[in-house]
């Protein structure tokens, strides 16, 4: 028996080692351990042996059998791995190919984005949002704002007039919303009103349609110092820098007295090689305007300001000129626009929270 094993062992082990496929190794297994296998044959022979020899032979045979089984399993694993690897190699593809072009996100126009940024800040300061129509009447756009007919101030704003008997016009400023608000709401009033505005100007620095945001605060105690404080805080939050100076330069608007142009200095101005940049118009609401809205100017006072949203967008995001804002050029919108996920918040920082733009 021992001899037989000695003869059989190298044959079986070699067969295992030289098997190249799972099928071959299975064949080896059947030959050795199948019903009529060589090892199975030896097992059967054990039964014919004398008990004392049988015990010794049985032990040897079992060791051999276990060894063969282990070898077969190991070979099987190795072959399986090799086969899998071969399949994986076959299946390999070029992952540097571009991914599927499922629609990429579009963009939000910078004017809308900046408008939301502004509303986010003013909302924090307790302002409410007010609205007015694009087509206005003379009362709300001029008369009530202390700009009577034939007043030279009317020439400051080239006005579009509507055909027809209504004497309607396209609002030249969002200031009409001040009147609409004060006509319907009693102080304290704290509103901002963004919207489209129109003037008959069209050149490198003017478009016949543009966007303004109007602010109005009316109560019994608000002063010019509050106006300065509000604007200062607004500028810092909006431009996201503390390197800001604010200068009030006396000017003239019929609906405020005193009236100022607010110039901004600091990093923003230095970046474009200037000391000051003219940014917005503001002032204390004129007593005549309060009277026109049925408010007693001895009792109520407050401030108003109006600024160009388009200009703020240009300054903050370095958009070099007005051309492009209203041309709906896809290249421009994709370049200067914002991701839909770029939602302005105070807590996250105002801008660029939406991740990288991919194209």
């Amino acid at each position: 028996m021992e001899e037989q094993i000695q003869t059989l062992k190298p044959q079986v082990l070699t067969a295992i080692q030289t098997a190249k496929t799972l099928a071959e190794i299975e064949e080896v297994r059947v030959q050795a351990l199948g019903k009529n296998g060589t090892i199975t044959g030896l097992m059967k022979e054990l039964g014919n042996m004398e008990p004392d020899k049988r015990k010794a032979a049985g032990q040897i045979l079992n060791v051999f059998k276990t060894e063969v089984l282990t070898e077969i399993e190991a070979k099987k694993k190795a072959l399986e791995t090799a086969e899998l690897n071969a399949r994986l190699a076959m299946e390999s593809i070029d992952v540097t190919l571009p991914s599927r072009p499922e629609t990429t996100a579009g963009r939000v126009h910078p004017i809308s984005q900046v408008m939301e940024e502004m509303l986010t800040i003013f909302g924090q300061m307790g302002f409410e949002m007010a609205e007015g129509p694009d087509i206005e009447d003379d009362w709300h756009n001029f008369e009530a704002l202390n700009i009577p007919a034939d007043h030279p101030a009317r020439q400051m704003q080239a006005t579009f007039f509507m055909e027809g008997d209504q004497k309607s016009l396209l609002r030249t400023q969002t200031s009409g919303v001040q009147i609409r608000t004060m006509e319907t709401k009693k102080p304290p009033i704290r509103i901002v009103a963004p919207g489209r505005t129109y003037r008959k100007d069209y050149d490198a620095t003017h478009t016949p349609m543009f966007h303004q945001i109007e602010g109005l605060v009316i109560d019994k105690t608000t002063t010019l110092a509050h106006l300065k404080g509000t604007l200062m805080e607004f500028m810092k939050l909006f431009f996201e820098t503390d390197d800001i100076q604010l200068r009030f330069r006396p000017s003239f608007f019929p609906f405020t007295e005193p009236s100022y142009e607010a110039d901004v200095g600091g990093a923003l101005a230095r970046n474009i090689g200037k000391e000051w940049i003219e940014l917005l118009g503001c002032g204390m609401v004129h007593p005549n305007v309060l009277k026109n809205c049925g408010l007693n100017p001895d009792e109520y006072q407050g401030y108003a300001f109006g600024c160009g949203i388009d200009r703020f967008a240009m300054l903050k995001y370095g958009i070099p000129d007005l051309r492009g804002f209203f041309e709906a050029d896809m290249r421009w919108i994709k370049h200067f626009g914002f991701l839909p996920t770029d939602v302005p918040t105070i807590t996250n920082g105002l801008s660029m929270n939406g991740g990288n733009k991919k194209c």
């Binding site: 571009p98 072009p101 996100a105 579009g106 963009r107 939000v108 004017i111 809308s112 909302g123 300061m125 307790g126 949002m129 129509p133 694009d134 087509i135 206005e136 009447d137 709300h140 007043h151 030279p152 020439q155 400051m156 579009f160 007039f161 509507m162 055909e163 027809g164 309607s168 396209l170 704290r190 489209r196 008959k200 016949p208 349609m209 608000t222 002063t223 010019l224 110092a225 509050h226 300065k228 404080g229 509000t230 805080e233 009030f248 330069r249 006396p250 003239f252 007295e257 005193p258 009236s259 004129h286 804002f325 209203f326 041309e327 709906a328 896809m330 994709k334 839909p340 996920t341 939602v343």
Partner: protein, 786 residues
């Protein structure tokens, strides 16, 4: 308003530098928009003295000079006829930039002789127009002296005068404001006593209430020649062409003191002058050589022959002064701003006089203005003056304001000592008697109530000490936007997330295109151009223009949207908010893994639906096959809530695309945001989630039906069989054509059945299927495909 520094110094005694003056003006509300200082350009040039002159060997008209610069001798070739030994002129050396040309002078060789510089003529340095020879300097200063020490150029400031400051449309007014800031001393006017040599043969009368005061003077024996150099230079410096002494004098007072005047040739006046309203149809040839047809309500100055001057705007040619004029009638009057503004606007006639009158000249200055002009005329043109004739009168008293000085602090939170406030007002010409403030006549148009005095005080005091006070709300602010305002933001981000890019296009458009989009003829009377003359009745037309522009740039696949108003009337408020979008070209770029496809109506439908959902649209919206005329009639539809159309979508009508010359199909949608009811405020809790442990199963059905049957109706029929069990119905195949009878289509549906309490038996599923087949058949005439 252009202000010459030399002219300013006639009214203001100051040692301040140009930059100090500019800064001060800007900070008191007289913004300096530009400073023109020619001396900067002249800085490099020096005096050069000609030492020798010899004939150029190769050119008859050229001379070769040696010129002493004070440190060296240069050889210069020069063609000027007036070169001579000993002449001092202005020398430009290599490297200097010649102001007229804006280029650097370089060493050169002229006809074989080296030239190491240039002697300058007036025009080359922008000092005048003369080019007949080099400048001849009469100076004791030695060669090498910078010429800015010899020639004192004038500095010109372009001051932005706001409409409330007509007094600053005169240089004297600007000087007064500057003096009030302490930068110099205001120089009083020198008025001499005039002799009334004779009574005026021309009399004046006023019948138009727009003229409050008229002062005239007859001056005889004048000689209307050229003005003296000082006057011509001042006028030129502020951009006015000198005409003749008489005209120049009126301009001098108009610009210098905001006192418009007019001189008539007295010999051409027939009879007396009357200031009256024009009659309709009266005509006058004005000094701008245009004939104006006048109408009632315009104030004119007329003699027996008719209108001789459009009062306060422009005189007529018939009575204009000429070089031959010897007798004149000098007018100095006050017309109300409203009447002049109206006349000027109706005639579309702009003049220096109109600008001043419509902003408001000093109503008390008619007599003094006339006197000052007469004084100058006698001085420069000779002659003798009559006694003045007057009609109407200057205001006898100035308005008075009772002023609580505490108002400054109440409005501005700025504490200024009372003495300072008083002295500011006084420096500006106000008379202060305790709380009674008398307004100077030149400010009556602007200063009407206490707040105006606050502005004056704060303007001159400055805002350097203005504190910054913060505004805080007592409670933490919550959402500032009303529900409909919030929608705009949400819809923008939803559509952008769907791959659409937000455009902002004009609210107006071409009326010729508007007719294709249900034009309501909301026209602009004075459009910026004829193709932007109507308020858009829809957002689609401007978006289609944008598609065309983008495709012209080579961008074939366009995805744009806009959220903005459309207009249906010229009455304020008759506009509605719309979210609209367009897609053109392919859905995606070409890709190896997936075939691309052209955009189609279902993309637009999905855009509209997502937009609607983002605005919490009710889920029971119905889709109908109707849309406005600019959509393809067979490939468009609308979302309706009851009878209200809340959105439309579809392919754009091919004939519209033809109008725009767009070659690819375009799909579009319009969501009428205002038509959607606002969601009712309700609690924030989300309804409970019911998860079933039972596995859902699916069954497929293919029905054949008439083409006209709405798929939506089939789906609804299927769902109606058992809304508890049928959780979803989808259409996975649409077939028309071969193997089907004419006019038929086949739709295949997958029905998802979600058992509720227990697993369904085969029998129960069988019954459900039969019910589906029967109900669909009954409702739509469809048959199950055999």
């Amino acid at each position: 308003m252009l202000v010459s520094l030399k002219w300013l110094e006639k009214h203001l005694d100051t040692t301040a530098s140009v930059s100090e003056i500019v800064e001060r003006l800007t900070m008191i509300g007289l913004e300096v928009e530009e400073v023109k200082d020619p001396s900067a350009d002249l800085a490099p040039f020096i005096i050069g003295e000609i030492k020798t002159v010899i004939q150029h060997p190769n050119a008859d008209r050229l001379k070769v000079l040696t010129v002493w610069t004070g440190t060296e001798t240069l050889q210069i070739v020069c063609g000027a006829p007036n070169v001579r030994v000993g002449l001092k002129s202005i020398l430009a050396r290599p490297g200097d930039i010649i102001p007229k040309l804006g280029t650097k002078l370089e060493k050169g060789v002229i006809r074989g002789v080296e030239s190491q510089g240039m002697m300058c003529a007036e025009d080359e340095l922008n000092l005048g127009e003369d080019h007949t020879g080099i400048i001849e300097l009469e100076t004791e200063l030695p060669a090498g002296t910078p010429i800015t020490d010899v020639i004192k150029t004038d500095v010109i400031l372009d001051v932005n005068v706001t409409p409330n400051r007509p007094d600053c449309l005169g240089i004297r007014g600007i000087a007064r404001d500057l003096a009030a800031t302490g930068i110099g001393t205001f120089i009083p006017e020198k008025r001499e006593k005039l002799t009334d040599a004779f009574p005026s043969p021309i009399h004046v009368s006023i019948t138009d209430k727009a003229c409050h005061h008229f002062v005239g003077r007859y001056i005889r024996g004048v000689k209307n020649g050229e003005s003296p150099t000082w006057l011509k230079e001042l006028l030129l410096s502020v951009g006015l062409r000198p005409i003749s002494a008489l005209v120049d004098i009126t301009n001098y007072l108009s610009i210098g003191a905001c006192r418009p005047l007019h001189v008539f040739d007295a010999d051409k006046i027939v009879g007396n002058l009357v200031i009256r309203s024009a009659q309709n149809g009266e005509k006058m040839m004005a000094l701008d050589d245009k004939e104006y047809t006048l109408s009632e309500g315009m104030t004119v100055i007329a003699d027996d022959n008719g209108v001789q001057s459009i009062a306060g705007v422009m005189g007529g040619t018939a009575t204009a002064v000429t070089a031959e004029t010897t007798c004149i009638f000098l007018e100095s009057a006050f017309f109300t701003p409203e009447s002049i503004a109206r006349t000027g606007r109706l005639l579309n006639l702009v003049s220096d006089a109109r600008t001043r009158f419509e902003h408001g000249v000093d109503p008390a200055s008619c007599r003094s203005g006339n006197d000052l002009a007469t004084q100058l005329i006698l001085e420069l043109c000779g002659g003798e003056a009559s006694a003045p004739v007057e009609a109407g009168s200057a205001p006898t008293t100035q308005p008075e304001i009772t002023f609580d000085f505490g108002l400054v602090e109440k409005i501005c939170a700025l504490s200024i000592p009372r003495e300072e406030m008083v002295s500011i007002l006084q420096a500006l010409g106000f008379e202060v008697d305790h709380q009674r403030i008398r307004v100077p006549s030149w400010r009556v148009h602007d200063i009407k109530q206490p707040i105006d005095l606050v502005e004056e005080i704060v303007r001159i005091h400055g805002l350097n000490n203005l504190p910054e006070m913060k505004m805080r709300s007592e409670t933490l602010p919550t959402g500032m936007l009303l529900p409909h305002q919030k929608r705009e933001s949400i819809v923008r981000r939803t559509l952008a997330a769907r791959g659409l890019n937000q455009a902002i296009t004009w609210s107006f458009m071409d009326s010729r295109l508007a007719q294709y989009f249900g034009s309501k003829n909301v026209r602009i009377a004075n459009p910026i151009s004829s193709d932007l003359d109507e308020m858009r009745p829809s957002l689609i037309p401007n978006l289609l223009s944008a598609v065309k522009r983008n495709q012209d740039y080579g961008i074939k696949d366009v995805q744009l949207f806009e959220v903005g108003p459309e207009f249906y009337s010229a009455i304020p408020g008759e506009q509605r908010m719309v979210a609209a979008g367009v897609r053109a070209g392919s859905w995606t770029l070409r890709h190896f893994a997936e075939a691309t496809r052209p955009v189609d109506v279902f993309d637009a439908k999905a855009d509209a639906w997502d937009a609607l959902c983002s605005m919490n649209a009710p889920q029971n919206l119905q889709v109908f096959r109707n849309a406005p005329s600019w959509y393809h009639p067979g490939r468009s539809g609308s979302f309706q809530l009851g009878k209200n159309i809340v959105a439309v979508f579809g392919e754009i009508h091919p004939s519209i695309l033809k109008v725009y010359d767009i070659k690819t199909p375009v799909v579009a949608f319009e969501v009428y945001m205002d038509a959607l009811p606002l969601p009712k405020p309700k609690g924030k809790t989300i309804k409970p989630l019911k998860l079933s442990n039972l596995t859902p199963l699916t069954r497929d059905f293919a029905f054949v039906m008439d083409k006209s049957v709405d798929a939506a109706k089939v789906i609804a029929s299927i769902q109606n069989v058992n809304r508890d069990l049928i959780s979803h119905v989808s259409v996975f195949d649409v077939y028309e054509g071969e193997h089907l009878p004419e006019g038929k289509k086949q739709l295949a549906f997958q029905v998802v059945i979600q058992p509720v309490d227990k697993t369904l038996t085969d029998k129960e599923i069988e019954i459900l299927s039969t019910q589906i087949i029967n109900l669909v058949s009954r409702n739509t005439g469809a048959t199950l495909r055999s």
